[in-house]
Symmetry: C2
Subunit: 304 residues, 2 copies
């Protein structure tokens, strides 16, 4: 019981000999000499502690131990072939899995478009997508539990080690107004003009949001309505209860009875949108990143 056999190229020799019934012809098939095959088989026999072939004057024949080993050796060979096929599929993007993450409003247009293009080109690759806050996705990518994520990282917080950010686009922020609002229909608007409005926000601490520069400049809006949900926010806007910020990427999916007006980037800065990739991105992640860039370029057609 010396231990597990150590090599397995030997199993190719074993299988070839078992198939052909002869060391000599197996050697020919493998491109070896007969002496090499003889020693390989002997080596296997020593490792397994049993004769695998019965030597006969006109060739060899499997012993009982050889017959017992044969299906296992075949299974091992087949399993390794399957592994090879799977790794090849991974490399050629004919298979595998892409674990995607994205923050919420990126899933309105940017990610779905890229995902559709990806599926057209690589239908064999399965894609899973998880929504969530950017910080969470950065952690998941760093931990190797996501292959790629679309995030909107804070400018002053460096990405976790092992994660590289790829800038995709800077997303303008829009303000959603009741359709009858005096500013509705304008091309853009300064924040000061809206300081008298009731602002519907998702976070009471405005200095933690994109409003930070505006707050520093003295902007102190009324923030009586808190809502995290888009449906709720826009419902309130449509009902004339107030105004709210909408990221440009989500503009297309806003209900038609609210008006959207661009805010000057000095007041509410453009939101930086990046792809977060691990240090060693998978082939699928790299391909998807390319499609994300492409989609971002198309979407960038909104700016001046």
């Amino acid at each position: 019981m010396a231990g597990m056999p150590v090599t397995h190229g030997l199993y190719d020799a074993f299988l070839a000999v078992a198939r052909s019934g002869s060391f000599t012809s197996a050697a020919r098939a493998l491109g070896y000499t007969q002496s090499a095959v003889s020693r390989q088989v002997r080596s296997l026999e020593e490792e397994w502690g049993a004769e695998l072939f019965e030597r006969r004057p006109r060739g060899v024949r499997l012993t009982e131990a050889g017959r017992a080993l044969l299906p296992h050796a075949e299974a091992v060979r087949d399993r390794l072939a399957a592994a090879r096929a799977e790794l090849t599929a991974l490399r050629t993007l004919d298979g595998g899995l892409l674990r995607l993450g994205a923050f919420s409003s990126a899933t309105a247009a940017l990610v779905p478009r890229a995902q559709a293009a990806f599926r057209r080109r690589h239908p064999g690759v399965a894609v899973t997508r998880v929504e969530g806050p950017s910080v969470k996705h950065l952690g998941l990518v760093a931990a190797g539990e996501e292959d790629l994520a679309v995030v909107s990282p804070a400018v002053d917080v460096p990405p976790p080690p092992g994660v590289t950010l790829h800038h995709l686009l800077d997303e303008p922020m829009l303000v959603a107004l009741e359709r009858g609002h005096p500013s509705a229909g304008r091309r853009d608007v300064r924040l000061a003009e809206l300081s008298g409005e009731e602002w519907i926000v998702g976070n009471e601490r405005l200095e933690d949001t994109l409003f930070r520069p505006a707050v520093a400049a003295g902007f102190r809006p009324r923030t009586g309505l808190l809502a995290h949900d888009w449906i709720a926010k826009l419902g309130a806007v449509a009902a004339g209860l107030g105004v709210t910020l909408v990221p440009a990427l989500a503009a297309a999916s806003v209900r038609p009875d609210v008006a959207l007006v661009t805010i000057h980037p000095e007041d509410v800065p453009h939101r930086r949108i990046c792809a977060a990739a691990p240090g060693a991105p998978t082939a699928a992640a790299t391909a998807f990143l390319g499609l994300l860039r492409e989609t971002a370029r198309e979407l960038r057609a909104w700016g001046p």
Copy 2:
């Protein structure tokens, strides 16, 4: 696509690293140095054409390719462990299959007794038994399709190459007589005393049977009744239609209303009964051969 990976002790290293998440600790677990594991993993990565681990400052982590390979490597390891267990069971007679052959009348007492003893000692070994003429079994053993056979080979015909005969016993021949026959009840009888009887035989050409020496000496019995089946032969004897030869091993299974009397071995020679084993008998066959010898010794209690 250089070809199949060549070695597989490497897979132990791969699995150990995958489990521990570190080359160093995997090396400790395997009894290797860290550099050895590092190079083993590198070798695997070159064979598979993909990085399997992502090197990080505090250890390593599986890449996508590594994650894909992991279940295959585990399956290979498990399959080899199963093979090892099976070969061990074969060697220790805790498993496996013994393919047995025997000529018809050996299955009356000799083989079943040995088989029962074998099953008591090695209940894990499955035994299959096929009846048939001795020549057929000799061929099957030579062809490796039977592991052991009990045969009654012709004295002047050598066994096929690769088959060795192990003498078990010389079986006397008895004659079955109607219970009321004048010779019934005698200890033994000379064939000449029965030359007037009607002989029930299985083969019209007596010179091809055990009668050969008797025929050479002028024995010319009446052979009006041909029967191959024991039931038929003994039925005819019981009905007083004639007499027939019965091998001693079958004596115990003869119907009680016929008498059995030993024939002098000069008239009808003892039948040689042997075990036929291949050149490299299996462990089970060797064990069974020992039990056959033992059983034969017990059964030999009939002769002088």
